[in-house]
């Protein structure tokens, strides 16, 4: 052999021998050619070992050629660009690629974990359910950490992902999933009718396995037909081709997700600013599943050794990359197709013989093999494999179907095996969206059952294995069927072999792997049956068969075959496990798309947002809004700033950006009656130009929102809601209008964003506004508390509400949003001489708590009625019906021992009760203690120079003056006296000032 024994001197349709690429694998430089996959390049370097299995850490090599690969999982890149668990068969190499093997320590060749294989006899399926139970605490502290460390394949990257991702939305008349000859022919047929066709294929190159398929189409080999068809499609304006794009999920109503690997194969693409991955959200009128078929392995003893590959993968390695796994190979098959691999090997100068489990086949390929002088052993199986880190020899034994064990065998030296147990239609995307399947005896596999108008399967995915029949199916997509002249070899029948016998007693100690990655053997599946885990879902979950990262692509049917032989049930009787999305794993980054960091969720900003930011605002998220929590100045800490803001409002004047407050215009002849239905109190009696505070319940009788509503005219109101309730309440009003009181003539228009609104509050508030609007009479007489006026302030058109949430003289000034910043600036400037200060939400909360004003969501929590918070007077007795009224009659809501809102004054005025602290009926040494209620708001009041709190306490209103206890963390007990909820200016003189 030459210097590069595994790279053949000629051949390789995918590689460019002129372009050499160098990358590292486990720290060692490896060179390959442009077009190589990591799998082909590493194999060409003579390395067969690619990974370690999950449970036993057995040495593993390549099995497949593409996305079905289950053993050769590789970590690529480093640091925050590391990506684990990629299939070597899908990684396209480039200069500078760094790759490493996984799940091994200290190295791939010498892996400590492989000791598991020595004790594997003690580790059958589900062994962990039977042990690791004693002593109890050991699971968490000893067993589990050990198991977790051993499990888990690759490692996660470090840090935030530097790459970007994006979503695309696309409609297609027809989506064709898979660009093999079925998909190509279907795309041409469909395109000829003029519809928009989307053709997706997971590989870099269209054609599927055309290059591995025997036959001639119109005088050209199948591969040339595919190349020509792909070229024709590329010129069609109504055909959109996406390569490196896996359709991963097929959901209700032909909604599909396709995952495009945009920049993985070439760092230059990423460097140009392109996303790493792109997720296509596709809606298609018609889905054509042309996903082909997946070759299945055969279960024989030690069938997992490195260099035991699928026959098609060996064929592909030679044809596409000019790489052979070894110099002497054995093809082990139960069907004709794998003979193609023998021909390819022979042509490449590799020694090959065929072991065929069937006693005969009339197929043309078998006859040709014999005629060509290839050693074909019919009625034979591989019964044993020698070698650990590779294959050194196999044993071949005579076999006939149904035979349990091997008596005699002969040893054949070889360095690789190509196996083929037949082909399974790739049904995943067919089944995701509810497609039905049936068992096909000739395939010994499942295939689609009945097609529908909008979902069809063709070619291999439909269980159609001949080229000619595939092309005929594809023509259904066109208006008139195109005729093809196809020559292909006649095929002999396949004969299923679910378990190749070995020496020794049946299935004792021999490892016939079914699920390679998860180390599930035929014996494990049988054990599950024996122990009663008979449902296929039980078997799957008990043994973990089909649950590895390949989701059972190559293992599921072999598993069913083993179960069938163990139980005597037929495969259709056993049934299949559910095919769940995705078809192949895809990145969370692709799912999130661009919605990360600053674009994670939209931020709502008031018109004054930038001013706040420029003036040192500390923001807090309130729903989607960002509101100013406090504006610390120069050397202030947050607490000092809050105190300053509060005292400014109490003693001078302050201004709050209240633009987030919900604003809803309600207009129409029935507006007043409608509001009477919505609020617990009455609005039909409200005078024009007056404001009224209103309470809303939900239908369960619990507080849902509150706010001030003003009457602008007989049929026109403006409703204020809480900031968080704005959208909810607008939708809620609309719902009642449209669905219950459909005869009401009322329009509801949410206008929250249309207005900038500020609370100007404090004893000097009037001075500030008057200075800006000398002609606008806002004197106490002309503009008393709870009234409304329109006019101009500082030249800006305004709606002014004289309402107060601070207890001070207060005007809420609203101006169209675009004028907001101008008006704000004007007021700040005018207020300067009066010592005006902007204040944030925390000062707002302290101010309102000092006055005993409730916040829906703080004082109430969804189980609290208006009566509980002491607002019985606001619940109309006169109105016959309003939302929530009837529920207040339910026995529990009017029952005894309800928690009622009260004020609390701590014994020690310098101590503030913690948020959410619970009071108890009696303090005990240790819990449990009977709880009688909880703090709802608690603050240090700078105005009063002491702490204050509000609380919901059982029968609180009957307990005025009583001292109750709050056992805190750490054993401390705080005592507080129950008072009413108004701590400051009980008479309300200030707000009328």
């Amino acid at each position: 052999m030459s210097k590069k024994p595994y790279r053949l001197s000629t051949g390789g349709t995918r590689i460019d021998r002129a372009a050499r690429m160098t990358f590292t694998f486990d720290g060692k430089d490896v060179s390959g050619f442009a077009g190589d996959t990591l799998a082909s390049a590493v194999l060409a370097s003579g390395q067969k070992l690619f990974g370690r299995s999950f449970k036993y850490h057995r040495a593993r090599g390549l099995v497949g050629l593409g996305s079905e690969e289950m053993n050769a999982l590789i970590g690529v890149g480093s640091g925050n660009r590391h990506e684990p668990n990629l299939r070597a068969t899908q990684i396209e190499i480039f200069d500078g690629l760094t790759a490493e093997s996984q799940n091994r320590w200290p190295s791939l060749k010498y892996d400590i974990g492989a000791a598991n294989t020595l004790v594997s006899r003690f580790l059958p399926a589900g062994f962990y359910y039977k042990t690791f139970m004693w002593p109890r605490s050991f699971w968490k502290h000893v067993y589990e950490p050990f198991i977790r460390k051993a499990a888990g394949l690759g490692k996660a990257p470090e840090g935030r992902d530097p790459d970007t991702y994006e979503h695309m939305h696309i409609h297609a008349d027809v989506i064709i999933i898979g660009g093999g000859i079925a998909g190509l022919a279907a795309a041409e047929a469909a395109a000829s009718t003029g519809v928009r066709v989307l053709l997706c294929d997971e590989n870099p190159v269209l054609g599927g396995i055309a290059d591995l398929t025997a036959g001639m189409i119109d005088g050209a080999c199948v591969e040339d037909y595919a190349i020509a068809a792909a070229a024709r499609l590329a010129t069609l304006p109504n055909v959109h081709i996406l390569t490196r794009t896996t359709v991963v999920g097929h959901y209700h109503q032909n909604y599909l997700m396709a995952f495009e690997r945009v920049g993985d194969h070439d760092p230059a693409i990423l460097a140009s600013g392109a996303p790493k991955h792109r997720l296509w959200k596709i809606r298609a009128d018609k889905v054509v599943v042309a996903t082909g078929a997946l070759e299945r392995p055969i279960a024989f003893a030690n069938n997992d050794r490195p260099n035991i590959m699928l026959a098609s993968a060996v064929r592909g390695m030679i044809g596409r990359y000019g790489v052979t796994p070894g110099s002497t190979g054995v093809v082990f098959t139960n069907n004709d197709d794998a003979y193609l691999t023998a021909f390819v090997l022979k042509k490449a100068g590799v020694n090959v013989q065929v072991v065929d489990s069937r006693s005969r086949s009339d197929g043309a390929l078998v006859k040709r093999a014999i005629a060509d002088g290839i050693d074909v052993s019919l009625g034979s199986v591989i019964s044993a494999v020698e070698g650990n880190l590779g294959v050194t020899a196999v044993k071949i034994a005579a076999y006939r179907k149904g035979q349990g064990r091997v008596i005699t065998e002969k040893r054949v030296e070889c360095d690789f095996v190509a196996m083929s147990g037949g082909w399974n239609p790739a049904l995943h995307l067919w089944c995701h969206n509810g497609g039905k399947i049936q068992f096909d005896d000739s395939l010994q596999s499942f295939r689609p059952k009945s097609h529908t108008d909008d979902i069809v399967a063709i070619g291999g995915a439909n269980g159609t294995m001949s080229v000619e029949a595939t092309l005929i199916e594809a023509q259904e997509l066109g208006k008139k069927a195109k005729k093809f002249k196809v020559e292909e070899p006649d095929r002999g029948a396949l004969e299923s072999i679910w378990f190749a016998p070995a020496t020794g007693k049946y299935n004792e100690g021999n490892k016939h792997f079914i699920d390679f990655q998860n180390d599930v053997t035929a014996a494990d599946l049988e054990l599950a049956q024996r122990e009663g885990y008979e449902s296929v879902e039980h078997t799957k979950r008990y043994t973990t068969f089909g649950m590895a990262t390949d989701q059972g692509k190559t293992s599921n049917l072999n598993g069913l075959g083993v179960i069938s032989e163990a139980t005597g049930k037929t495969i259709p009787e056993i049934g299949v496990t559910t095919f769940r999305p995705p078809y192949t794993p895809y990145s969370f980054g692709a799912i999130a798309g661009a919605h990360t960091g600053a674009l994670f969720l939209p931020v709502r900003r008031t018109p004054i947002y930038n001013w706040h930011a420029d003036h040192g605002a500390v923001f807090e998220p309130v729903g989607q809004w960002r509101r100013t929590y406090v504006y610390p100045q120069a050397s202030e800490d947050k607490h000092q700033a809050i105190v300053r803001e509060i005292l400014s409002v109490r003693n001078k004047v302050g201004m709050l950006d209240a633009s987030t407050l919900g604003k809803i215009e309600i207009k129409g002849p029935d507006a007043a009656e409608f509001l009477d239905r919505m609020y617990t109190n009455t609005f039909s009696t409200l005078k024009i130009g007056k404001c009224r505070y209103g309470l809303m319940m939900n239908e369960l009788g619990f507080l849902s929102d509150d706010g001030v509503t003003v009457r602008l005219g007989e049929d026109h109101f403006i409703m204020h809601t809480t900031s968080g309730g704005a959208d909810r309440i607008a939708a809620w009003l609309e719902e009642w209008l449209q669905t219950e009181w459909t005869h009401y003539k009322v329009f509801v228009t949410p206008v929250t964003e249309q207005w900038a609104q500020f609370a100007v509050a404090g004893p000097r508030a009037r001075d500030v506004l008057s200075k800006l609007a000398p002609d606008f009479d806002i004197s106490n007489e002309a503009f008393p508390h709870m009234s409304f006026k329109q006019g101009h302030i500082g030249g800006y058109p305004v709606r002014v509400y004289r309402i107060s949430f601070s207890g001070e003289l207060s005007y809420e000034v609203a101006t169209p949003a675009n004028f907001g910043q101008g008006l704000w600036n004007a007021i700040m400037e005018a207020g300067d001489e009066f010592g005006i200060s902007a204040y944030g939400t925390e000062a707002l909360h302290v101010l309102r708590a000092e006055k005993g004003y409730i916040v829906v969501g703080d004082e109430s929590d969804g189980t609290v009625t208006p009566i509980d918070v002491g607002m019985e007077g606001m619940v109309s007795k006169k109105k016959t019906d309003f939302i929530g009224k009837r529920s207040l009659e339910q026995s529990f809501l009017k029952g005894p021992n309800r928690k009622q809102l009260v004020g609390l004054l701590t014994e020690d005025p310098t101590e503030v009760l913690p948020d959410g602290a619970y009071a108890v009926a009696a303090v005990k040494d240790k819990p449990p203690m009977e709880m009688i209620g909880q703090v709802t708001s608690t603050y240090m009041s700078p105005t009063l120079g002491r702490s204050i709190a509000m609380a919901l306490i059982q029968n609180g209103r009957a307990r005025m003056g009583e001292t109750i206890s709050f056992p805190l963390e750490g054993g401390k007990v705080m005592k507080a006296t129950i008072t009413d909820t108004v701590f400051y200016d009980k008479e309300g003189a200030r707000l009328h000032g």
Binding site: Y251, H252, Q253, Y255, R283, G434, E699, L700, A731, E734, E735, Q738, T739, E740, W741, T742, T880, D881, K885, R886, S887, E889, Q890, S891
Partner: protein, 114 residues
């Protein structure tokens, strides 16, 4: 993601462009006779729901379109819409006939009228 078509403005969109409003044809007892509602009636109104596996009748709102509420008949297993109809209307007669369980009971009297 299912596609919904609004019968009012004829806009079609993804389910996220619409708002699901729960079971249709739930009577609010207080609207008719607020003074005489039993606890059972109020419970049924607030909480008891038809919850069939199969044909269901429900309310949707065309959230990002015309904003109107409408009724829909939908299969809760296949998720396919069978019909949409006005918010004050009853479903097409053939669907009322097709309804099973509690829905069949509900439509019985109404079918007689129709």
């Amino acid at each position: 993601m299912i596609i919904v078509t609004c019968p009012v403005c004829n806009a079609s969109g993804d389910e996220t462009d619409f708002h699901y409003g729960g079971q249709a044809h739930v009577r609010r007892p207080a609207t008719d006779d607020p003074a005489n509602i039993t606890d059972d009636e109020q419970r049924d109104y607030l909480f008891i729901r038809h919850n069939p596996k199969g044909l269901h009748f429900e309310r949707w709102r065309c959230d990002r379109g015309c904003g109107k509420w409408f009724h829909a008949a939908r299969d809760t297993l296949t998720l396919d819409f069978k019909a949409t109809y006005g918010i004050t209307e009853l479903p097409p007669v053939e669907l009322m006939k097709e309804a099973k369980g509690p829905w069949a009971e509900y439509f019985k009297a109404r079918l007689k009228k129709a």
